[in-house]
Symmetry: D3
Subunit: 338 residues, 6 copies
C-alpha cells in the first residue's frame, strides 16, 4: 500500500519548557500540518508514505523537506516555488493553562500556488491511498481547486480516499465549511470526524441535531448510519475527548465499518504536547485499516492508542513504532524497558 | 485607578528542569518579591502600575528595572543607590520534593537605604492604591521606618491601602511580627491574609485560637468579623491551600466585604512554579476590587483563579490576561485555543 | 532632545551557536529593524526615545512591545492592528561563511496599514528629532505615503530629520529606489549613507561616478559638497567597511559638517553579530550630534566606535553605555574591568 | 561504619526534556550503575562510602571519577585500565510512554579486566559493609570471578554483605541467573529483592510458586521465612511497585528482620526520573540498618521514602539528605520551604 | 553520476561551547565517519549519493539513518544488524587548545559483520563512482575483506574509484597500513592523500623520502609523477595545512591530472569545527571531477574552498551549496547576504 | 609535596554565549577565587592540593565543596559557618568589548568569620607549601588577622610560602594595600607579581619608579634584585600582558631565581575566558618550582604556557594536564589529536 497526503506544511515555533510567547527568548522549531502529520506518523509505522505540498525555494523550505526525509516520507512530489512558508506559533499549555496557537499562515507558497498545470492523475496513479483534510480548501481559492482536482483524480484512479473535515474557525465560517466540505464527501471512503458536514433526514433536518461532544453509543450509531446512507463510506470514525486540564485528558473513539458501530476503550493520560493528537488518531486508523489482520475492535483501539501515545511525544507527530502503540493498546506495563 | 507597591525586588536564581541547587551548573534569572509580584501582575492585567524600591546602580540593578519595564510597570520612582541586590535561590519542587528557597538578601540596597529624605506624600499623591507587605518591616530598621512613613502618608492622602502580612520565619519571630504588623492595621483598608496579627476578644484571648489551616466557613466568618470590628476593613481575604504534593495542590479562599463572608470554588491544579502563588491571589483580588462590575462572589473566584493560573507560569508573576483568568474562573475548556 | 523613529519592527529568528538554518532545531528570538535599532540604541545611550510602528494585536506583537519597553523606548505611539509581524531569519556568519538573511516580511501589519487617518503633525510635535530610513518606502504603497506625510510634517514642525537611504535590493530596484528616495532629501537634515540618491553635476552626470567602496578623502569631500549644494544638509556621513572575513572587519567613516569633511580612525574588530552595525553608526552619530560638547572629529569617531561596539553584542542593537563607547573611541584597555 | 560497593559504572546518556532517542540532538551526561548508585546515595546521606570499579584511563574515565568525588564517594580503590566505559542510553518515559534503556556496555574495561591479582582481603579489611548486585556476575566470566573473590573475602573478614539480585534479562537467562546468584547467598547478610534465586521446599518445589508482583503479607512472610531458613539472612526486603503510568507510580515494601515481617506505607508519586529507584531503596535500607535508633517499621518506611524521593530527582541517585527523606516518611508538608 | 561510499558511521558526541570532556554535562549528538562525510557533503552539493554501512537495529541506528536521509543520502543499502554503533567523543579545540578525539569504536556492528554473503557486484552495478578510505581496512579482518571485495567488484564494473588512505595511528602501525593500502592502489583512479603508501624508485628507495608537510611544487610534482607511473591514476591530490592555532589554519592543495601538477590558492580561515575538513576536500574534489566544465585549476581551488568552508560549519560535513563554495573560491565578499 | 591555599571561594555567575548582564536570562554557575584557582589548577596537574576557606552551611556552600572535590582538591579543612557566599557576576568580553566583573562579595561567611580559635600551626604542619594572595587581607579586619596568623605559622613550620599581591582597586586603596602587603613579604619565599609593594632605594625613592607595564629586561632585573635584597626571596615572577583586544592577547613573563633573571617566550592567543589567567600563571610556576628537573627557563615558560592555556578554557581554572601545557610550551602542533 502506497500512501500520499496533500496539504500545507508549516514551520511550528514553540517556546521551550512551557514558557509563554509573551516572554520567551527562544523557539523550538518543528514542522507540522494536519495532513503531513498523518504522512509522517504513517512512515514511522512503516507505511510507504509520500507528501505533496508547495514549499519556498529557500533554506527554510529545504529544512522542512529534510524534516520529512528524516522521517522517511518521500518528498519527490513537492513543488519548490516563490513565496513564504506558513508559520504557527504554539504556546504549549500545562495544568490550568490551555495550549494556544497563533497562526501566521497567510499568503503561503502553498496557498498562493496556481495548481492548474499540476497533473494529479499522473501523480496519484502511483499511490493506493490519498489523505486530505478540510483545512486545505479553507486556505485559498487555489487550494479549493487543488482539492477538487485531487479528489476527483483519486476517485477515477480507484484510490482509497480518507478525509478529516478538521474545521478551523479562524479560517472560515462553519456554514461555508459545511457547504464546501460536504461536496467532497461523495469521493471519500474513510471519514475521520463528522463536523462540519451536511447529513440530512428526509424532512431536511440535520441528523446531528442534538449530538453532544460526549454522545451515547446509540446516538453515534444513528448518525454514522445516516452518513453512510447519504455518502456511502467504507469507514467512519470520531473521537471523544475529555479535557480534565491542559495537562490531563481522556480519549475514546467511535468507529463504524460494514454497517456496525464500535466503541473503543477510554484511556486517561498526561499530556506532553497536545498538537497533532487528532492527526495521530487518523494515522493510527489508516494504518489499522491497511492491515488484513486487525478486527474492527482492534482498529479503533489502535487508533485511540496511537492518538494517546502522540500526546506523550514532543512535536506534531507520533514517531513511535507499531509495537509501542500495541503495548499501550494491550495494557502492557508502563515500567522501564531494559 | 493608579496603583503603586513598595517593597524589595530580588534577583531570583533557579536551576532549570527541576535540577537541585547542589548539583546544578546553570541558573535561570528572574526577578521577584512579594510586592513587586503584585505590581507586575496588575500591570499585565492592564492596571496602571508603579513600583517603588531601591536598586544598586549597576547592570544588575538595570537588568531588574528592564524586567519591570518590559512588564509595563512604571519605574520612575525607583532609587538607584550603592549596595547589592537581594538574591534568592529557588530549587523548584516536584512530586514528593518540596520547593526550597535559600535567601541571600541581607544587606541589600533596599534594606540599608536611609529613607529619611524620601517625601512619600509627594510620591503617593499621584496614586490611588498602595500595596504593602509584612516582609518589608522585617528586613531592617530603615525599612520599618519606610513602611511607617508610607502607610501614614497614604492614609492622609486617602489612598486605598492593601496589606499582606506575609510572615517569614527566617526573618523574624512570630511574636515580634505580630506586634509590629498589628500597628499598621489601622491604616489598612484591604487585608490579605490574617497571620500574624493580633485580634483579641474582650477577655483578651485571641479570636483566632483554634483556627486551623482548613477552617470552616463559620469559623472564618467569626474571625473576619472580629478583625473588621477591631480594625475597620473594607475587605479581608484568606486562601486555603491543600498541598497534595509538590506538584499538585488545591486552592480556595474566604472573602469578607460589607459585613458578609464568601467562600470561593476550590480548584485543583498541577504546579509548574509554586512561588508567587499568594501574590497572584493579591493581584487578582485587587484587580477585582478595582472593577465596578464584579460581585463579591466573582471577586473571590477571580482572585483564586488568578492565583491558580500563576502556578502554571514560570517566574514569580501571573503574566496572563484578564480573559485567561476569567476563562478559568468560568470553567471554560482547557483544550487548545486556535 | 526628544527622539522618534518610524519604521517596521521585525521578529528576528536566528539559530544559536552559528548553526545553519537548514539544520537548526532552535531559534533565538530577537527584534530588529533599521529604524527601531536606532531608537533602541539611543535609548540605551540615555536619549528620550520613542518608536512609531504598527504591530499585530497578539502576544507576538505584545512581546515586541515588551522588548522596546525593556530597552527604555516609549511605545505609546504604536498602533495595534490586524495582520502579521514581519520576520527575518538570520544565519549568523562566521569565518569564511557570510551571514545570511532570509526575509519573511511581506504583508506585514506595518506594510498594509492605511495611514490616512494618522495625524503625524499631532504626533511629531512632541519630538525634536525624527529618524527615517529608505527601507520603509520600499515596503508598500501605504508605507510610501506614510513617509511622505511624516517627513513633511516634521519639516513643518521644525524637527531635525535624519535619513539613512539603506538600499535593499530584495525589496526594489536601485533606480526606483534612487528616484523615490531622492525626493525626500529636501526634507532631510542629516544624511547617513549616500546610496541610492541622485547627485548631479551641471552637465547631468552623476557626481558619484567612479566612487568606489573605498574612496579617497578627496573624492568623498567632493561628493559631500555636491550633495550639500544640491540638498542643503546639516551633516552627511558614510562608513567604509573592510570585510576581511565573516568574523573580522575593519570600519572607518567620512563625515561632513559645516562645509568640512572629516575622516575617522579605522578600527579592526572581531564580529559576534553583524546585523545592525550600520544602525549603530546612525545612533552613535545622532547621539553625538545631539551633544553640545563633541567636536566633528569626536562625532565621527564616536559614531564609528558605536558601530564597532555593536558588532561585539548579540542582537540588532548597541545596548552599551556612552562610557563604554568612549573607552573604545579613546583606545582604553580591553582588559577585564573589575 | 565504612561502606564499599563493587560494580560497573556506566556513562548514562539521556535526551533532554523527554525527547526520544530517535530524534534527539543532545544527550545529558550522567553516570550510573546499580552498585555505584547505592554508594553515591549513601555518601549523600553522610555514610563513609567507597566504590570499587575499573575505568578507562582517559578523560571519559576521569570525568566519571570526578562525578563520584563530587558526591563524596572515595575513589582510591578504582583501577584505571585500558578499554572502554560502558554506556547506557536512557529515553526517559512520561505519561503512557515507558522509559526505555538501550545498553552499550559490552567489552567494557570493568567486564574485561582480569581480577586475579587484585587482593580483595587487603582492600576489604578497611570496610564494614560490602554491597554487591546480581548484575556484575552477568557481565563476564572475569566479573563472576571478581564477585566470587570479593564475597568470600568479605565473609572471612566479617563484613556485612548486602546483595541485590537485580535480574537483567538482556544480560543472561533467568535460569542461569538463578543458579549463579543462589550460590552467593550463603555469604549474604542482607538480601534486597528475591528474584532470581532458588528457594525450595523440602519436596523440591519453589517456595515462590504463585507469588505475584503484588503479594499478600502472608505470602511474603512465608517466602521470607523460607529464604531465611535456607540461607540465614539478617534482613530481607522486597519492594512492590504499582505502575499507573510512565509518570505516576506507587511503591511499598515488605521487610523481614529478626523473624518478623513488616509492611511499609504505600506512597503514590509523580516520576521525574525512573532509573535508580530500586537502588535508592537499597541505599535507604542500608542506611537505616546502619543506625542504632531506627525500628524495623522505620527502617522499611525510610527505605521506601528514599526510593520514592529518588524518582523526583534527575540522575540515577538520591542526592537528598536524611532530613528530606524523613520529612517524606513522616508526611511533612510538601509546600515550599523558605 | 551516481555515487556510493562504503565505511563506518559513528555517533559523534561533543561537549557544547568548547567545554572539556572532563567537565561537561552535555553532549551534542552528530554522526560522522570519513566516507559518510564525503557522501553527505556530495548529497548537499546535489549529487545522487548513497552510503553503505552496517548499523545496529535499534533507535540509535535508526537515528543515524535519519541523519543520512535528512541529508538526502540514500540508505537502502544499509544493513541492520546486531551489535553496537561506534562512538567518538570530540573535544573541540580552540585557540592554543587542540581538538581531541577519544575513539570508542571497537566491536562495532560494522567492524564485526561478516560480509561474505554480501554481493557487491549486485550492489555496485547501480553506481558510477565508489569512494573508500584507508580507515575501513584498519578496523577488522572482516572489514579488510569487505574493502577487498568492494574494490575488485568496482574495478570489474568500471566504476571510478576514489581512495583516501587516511592513516590513523590509533588503529594500526604505519608500516602495516602502508603494506595493506598499497595493494588497493591498482584498483584506484583518484587518490586523495599520499600517505601511507609505497612509491619506490628503481633502486628501491622511497620517492617520498625527504618530502615535508610543506613541500615545494617541484617535489610534489616529482612524487605525483612517480605515483602515476607506478599505479596509473586519473588524478591525485594532497592538501597542505598550516596550523597557526587550534582556531586558525591556512590550507592549500596540490593536484595532479593528465600529467600536470597544479597548486591551489592558499586560504586562511578561522575554525568553528575542525573534524571532517579533509573529507570536505575529498567531496569538493570528487564533485569538481564529476563536472564537465571545471578546469584543473578550478577543480583544486573548489576542493580547497569546500574544505575551508566545512571548518566554518558545526558537524563533520560541508552542508553548504555549490554556490556558497564558488563564492569563497572566487573571493566574493564575506559581508552579510540579504 | 603537599600544597594548601587559603582564601575566599566565590560563586561565579556569567551569562552564556557572551550575552550581556543587562539582557541575560541565564547564568552559568562556576566557582572561583584567586587562591582556590591555584589550588584547583595544581590538583589537576597532579599535586596533592588542599583549600582552606569558610563557606555557608547550605546547599550553595555544599555545591561549592562538590566543585572542589570533583577537581581533586581536599576540603577537610573547610569551615562551614553561618552567612552568605560571596558572588561575582562576570560578563565575558569579546572583541572590542572588555570582560566586566561586578562583585557582590561583601559580608561573606569568609570575610566575617572570627579566626581567633583556628589553630593554623596544627593545620599547616601537614603541608609543605602555602599559597596566599593580597585579596584576602583586603576583605575585612578578620581576614587580615587570618593572613597574619597563617603566614607566621607557615614560616615557623618551614613551609614554602608563595604570595600573589593581586591588587584590587575596588577593595582598598593602592597605598593601604602597599603598606599592608609589604609587611607580609618577610614571610614570603616566592613572590608572584610585584605590585603593590614597597621597594626602596637607599635614598628612600621607589625602585619601581618609571617601571612600565612593558618593562625592559634590564629594568626588571634591577627591580627583582632590589626586591630580593630587601626581602630575600627564593623566586620572583611577573607577567607582561599585551591586550590587543578583548579576545586576543599576548603574554610573556620575567622570572628571577638564584640571582638571575629570565625572560620567557611571548605567546599570542585567542581568549575563551579571561578570568583566572593570572592564577594559572601562579599554579604553573608553583608546579614547576616543585619539580626537580625543570630549569629556570622551563619554569618560566611552563608558567606562561599554563596561563595561556587557561584562557582557552571556560571557568576560572586550568583543568588541563601537564602534558597539554608542555605541548604548548614546546610548540607542538595545534592540530586535532586522535
Amino acid at each position: 500500500m502506497k500512501f500520499i497526503a496533500i496539504g500545507e506544511l508549516m514551520l511550528r515555533l514553540s517556546p521551550p519548557n512551557y514558557e509563554k510567547i509573551v516572554s520567551t527568548h527562544n523557539y523550538i522549531a518543528n514542522y507540522g500540518g494536519a495532513e503531513s502529520n498523518v504522512a509522517v506518523s504513517l512512515a514511522n509505522l512503516g507505511v510507504d508514505s509520500t507528501f505533496f505540498t508547495v514549499l519556498p525555494n529557500s533554506d527554510i523550505g529545504k529544512s522542512a523537506i529534510n524534516y520529512l526525509k528524516s522521517n522517511d516520507v518521500h518528498t519527490k512530489e513537492i513543488i519548490k516555488s516563490e513565496g513564504r512558508m506558513g508559520i504557527y506559533f504554539l504556546e504549549e499549555g500545562v495544568s490550568v493553562r490551555p495550549s494556544q496557537v497563533i497562526y501566521d499562515r497567510g499568503s503561503s507558497a502553498f496557498a498562493e500556488y496556481d495548481y492548474k498545470d499540476v497533473d494529479f492523475e499522473k501523480i496519484l496513479k502511483e499511490y493506493d491511498w490519498l489523505h486530505l483534510s478540510g483545512i486545505t480548501p479553507a486556505l485559498s481559492y487555489n487550494c479549493r481547486k487543488l482539492i477538487d482536482k485531487a479528489v476527483k483524480a483519486a476517485k477515477k484512479l480507484g484510490l482509497t480516499v480518507s478525509f478529516d473535515p478538521n474545521f478551523r474557525s479562524s479560517l472560515w465560517s462553519f456554514s461555508t465549511a459545511r457547504d464546501v466540505l460536504s461536496k467532497y464527501l461523495q469521493y471519500v471512503d474513510v471519514l475521520i470526524g463528522i463536523e462540519p458536514i451536511h447529513v440530512y433526514r428526509e424532512d431536511g433536518t440535520d441528523v446531528k441535531d442534538g449530538l453532544t461532544m460526549d454522545p451515547s453509543f446509540k446516538d453515534m450509531d444513528r448518525v454514522f448510519r445516516a452518513i453512510d446512507k447519504q455518502y456511502h463510506m467504507k469507514a467512519i470514525a470520531r473521537t471523544v475527548r475529555y479535557v480534565h486540564s491542559g495537562s490531563n485528558n481522556s480519549l475514546k473513539a467511535f468507529f463504524y465499518a460494514d454497517g456496525e458501530t464500535y466503541e473503543s476503550k477510554t484511556i486517561n493520560f498526561e499530556i506532553v504536547d497536545r498538537v497533532g493528537g487528532g492527526d495521530a488518531f487518523s494515522s493510527g486508523l489508516i494504518y489499522a485499516l491497511m492491515q488484513d489482520d486487525m478486527s474492527a475492535e482492534d482498529t479503533v483501539n489502535f487508533a485511540v492508542a496511537s492518538s494517546v501515545m502522540k500526546h506523550a511525544i514532543r512535536g506534531d507527530t507520533n514517531i513511535t513504532s507499531v509495537d509501542q502503540i500495541k503495548r499501550l493498546m494491550n495494557n502492557a506495563s508502563f515500567d522501564v524497558l531494559r
